[in-house]
């Protein structure tokens, strides 16, 4: 039996969904995008073009819920189906769009450069517990205006795994789409076997900005999956009660699914988010708060009740260094996400809310993820009878270590961590240098990076990606891109 976490009663699920639909009508959804407003009006919503508020009848949103796919897959660059959005499949990718990287030597945050993100992408490739890449760092050695597409450019040069990404502008989305098309050969191939997902973030409460709305519409038209990242901040930009924050999340996501399906029926879209329980002392958005985890898991339950693929930002920490708080917050969130059956859990490596990425935290999180994935595989009988034959044969001998039964099952039943996790005796630990988790993680990063296998990308394709990216950079005053750190 697979363990499953449900925080909401059936009655509460029903009421939250009902209130979500109500909010779409009154007060309605603010949509700062002309195309979306027109789509909504044409579909029967009452649209005030002056105030840019759409009052969406439940029937319109219900229709969208009928045309959205309940599942879809992502493909790696070898064309293999590796990520499954839908059902209770649980997968993990690194937290996205960090504006700093934790320096491995100084343990201080600094601005990321090209080489930092390339190292990050390579590291993600080598970590078996991670199912997808993300455009995790925003590099400062290129103009801000191309910060989004430049990440994708770098990642595409070094990755095999599919990628969770997003655009910061309307025009850059097109450049990013062109890169993805270049990778797989055609727009048709990209729609049939998507290699990327675009995050689209409504602003709380109940607002679709022009940029994110357009990204979602454009993605829908090209069959590129969108991932809704609704982020009610309980007690600040949403009501403070957890259930009410989930109501707001429901309304924002319902409006997103509706606009997406109106743009293109059947376009893949994910019920996701990055909510937080507002910190009532610091005025911050803690990702490691238990309230945050609960909102995430509850909205996941709502998404599943509506038959949607799901996503959540979990497994992060608000700590500024890789310390005890970092470990406990990241573990709590990742375990909860796994138990809730979130299809894509974003956040590995991320700290200081959602602003900093750390290579060392990433390899520690990989162990948390490994343990979480083991947990939800649950406990199986394995043999029938479960133990009788074996235990009656051995009697009272404590000789299980020598049994073929042990050799057969131990690595399937037990999660075997890397040396990041220390389970040696005191003396063994001292003999290996009395290293802290941080130091062991440093070793692990180096060990993994040494195993990186170059991505299957031709020189012609590299050149094409470079041309596409350079063309975009030139619009913003950069004639030549920083050199690609190729070995």
């Amino acid at each position: 039996m697979r363990p499953k976490l449900n925080l909401l009663s059936d009655a509460l699920v029903e009421q939250i969904i009902a209130e979500g639909f109500e909010l779409l009508m009154n007060p309605g959804v603010r949509v700062h995008n002309a195309e979306a407003l027109k789509l909504l009006a044409d579909a029967g919503a009452k649209v005030d073009f002056e105030t840019q508020i759409a009052h969406i009848p439940e029937s319109v949103a219900r229709r969208a819920l009928e045309t959205r796919p309940s599942e879809f897959h992502l493909y790696n660059l070898d064309g293999e189906q590796v990520v499954h959005y839908g059902g209770d499949r649980v997968q993990f990718d690194p937290g996205s769009a960090a504006i700093t990287v934790l320096d491995s030597e100084t343990q201080e945050q600094r601005q990321p450069l090209t080489a930092d993100f390339v190292k990050f992408v390579k590291l993600v490739e080598t970590i078996p517990q991670l199912d997808a890449q993300s455009t995790a760092l925003v590099c400062v050695d290129v103009p801000d205006e191309i910060g989004d597409l430049y990440r994708l450019y770098l990642a595409l040069n070094f990755m095999r795994k599919p990628i969770i990404t997003g655009a910061f502008r309307k025009d850059t989305w097109w450049t990013m789409k062109d890169m993805l098309v270049a990778m797989v050969g055609s727009e048709k191939a990209l729609a049939e076997k998507p290699i990327a997902v675009f995050d689209v973030c409504p602003s709380p409460p109940l607002l679709w900005s022009d940029l994110t709305c357009q990204n979602m519409i454009d993605s829908a038209r090209y069959g590129i999956p969108s991932e809704l990242v609704s982020m009610p901040l309980a007690g600040a930009t949403s009501p403070v009660t957890l259930a009410a924050a989930v109501v707001q999340h429901t309304a924002e996501c319902l409006s997103g699914v509706t606009i997406c399906q109106l743009a293109h029926e059947g376009a893949p879209i994910v019920w996701g988010g990055s909510p937080a329980a507002f910190d009532m002392r610091e005025g911050t958005t803690p990702m490691g708060a238990v309230g945050t985890w609960m909102i995430d898991c509850a909205y996941t339950q709502i998404g599943k009740a509506l038959g949607m693929p799901t996503h959540a930002y979990l497994g992060m920490t608000d700590a500024k260094v890789v310390d005890a708080q970092c470990g406990l917050e990241s573990s709590g969130g990742a375990l909860m996400a796994a138990l809730a059956g979130v299809n894509m859990v974003s956040g590995a490596g991320m700290m200081d809310f959602e602003s900093c990425q750390s290579y060392e935290k990433l390899v520690i999180d990989a162990e948390i993820i490994g343990m979480s994935k083991r947990l939800i595989r649950g406990i199986e009988a394995r043999d029938n009878p479960i133990a009788l034959t074996l235990m009656q044969e051995l009697g009272h001998r404590a000789d299980y270590l020598a049994q073929p039964h042990t050799l057969k099952w131990f690595d399937k039943e037990l999660y075997l961590p890397s040396a990041v996790i220390d389970r040696g005796s005191l003396d063994a630990w001292k003999k290996k240098g009395a290293k802290t988790a941080w130091e062991r993680a440093q070793d692990r990063v180096e060990e993994l990076l040494a195993t990186y296998q170059p991505a299957p990308i031709s020189d012609e394709l590299r050149a094409e990606l470079r041309d596409i990216t350079t063309h975009a950079a030139q619009k913003f005053g950069m004639d030549e891109l920083p050199p690609l750190p190729l070995d």
Partner: protein, 214 residues
């Protein structure tokens, strides 16, 4: 042909298929291979690979044990052959091992015994809760090079010191190297009680034993 068969024996040890190791060993004898050749160029090569894989974290304890089991079963076939040729497998040394009086924990001790045995030591495993005088008598009887004392409890680790004292009283302390192990045991404790060595795990204990008998 013979090198191919020896290679298969090595692989059967490394991949943990004791039954196959036994069959191949019998086959090798039928083919006229010398028992010592089978040991040195087949079985031992496999055990060394297994030890290396354990230390690089590719292998885990069950792999070690199953490989050692294959080695042991093959040796049971080869011993009579060696005797009939009036040969001996090159012994790395004689080891007496057991858990000290009052301590009934077996797993760690047996693991060390198994690994030492698979590494060419002649191992006399006295079991658990072994009275001190039984250790002393066995060391005298076998002329052991190494005495391994296991204790898992902080309440029984002091018995390790007692055994060393009684070896001294019996006048044979300088004839045998005493190595200790167990969860609460450390190098510091080994120093405190005058033991000759301490190892962290089963693979480490084999290394230690090899160093001590040189």
């Amino acid at each position: 042909m013979s090198s191919e068969l020896l290679n298969k024996i090595t692989i059967s040890i490394v991949e943990g298929r004791p039954d196959e190791t036994v069959d191949l060993t019998r086959q090798a004898l039928v083919d006229g291979l010398e028992p010592l050749t089978i040991i040195d160029e087949g079985l031992t090569v496999g055990m060394n690979i297994v030890g290396d894989k354990f230390q690089t974290c590719e292998y885990y304890l069950p792999h070690l044990i199953i490989a050692a089991s294959g080695m042991k079963q093959a040796m049971e076939i080869l011993e009579p052959e060696l005797q009939s040729r009036q040969q001996e497998a090159e012994s790395a040394g004689v080891v007496v091992i057991g858990s000290v009086a009052g301590d009934i924990h077996e797993i760690g001790k047996s693991l060390v015994g198994t690994m030492m045995s698979a590494s060419g030591f002649q191992v006399h495993d006295l079991g658990v809760d072994v009275p001190t005088e039984v250790f002393i008598a066995k060391v005298k009887e076998t002329g052991a090079d190494i005495l391994g004392l296991s204790a898992l409890l902080t309440t029984t680790m002091t018995v390790q010191r007692q055994v060393i004292r009684e070896l001294e009283e019996a006048g044979i302390r300088d004839q045998v190297k005493v190595v200790i192990g167990g969860a609460p045991i450390s190098q510091e404790w080994a120093n405190t009680i005058g033991a000759d060595g301490y190892a962290e795990d089963a693979v480490g204990s084999v290394e230690l034993a090899k160093q001590l008998v040189v």
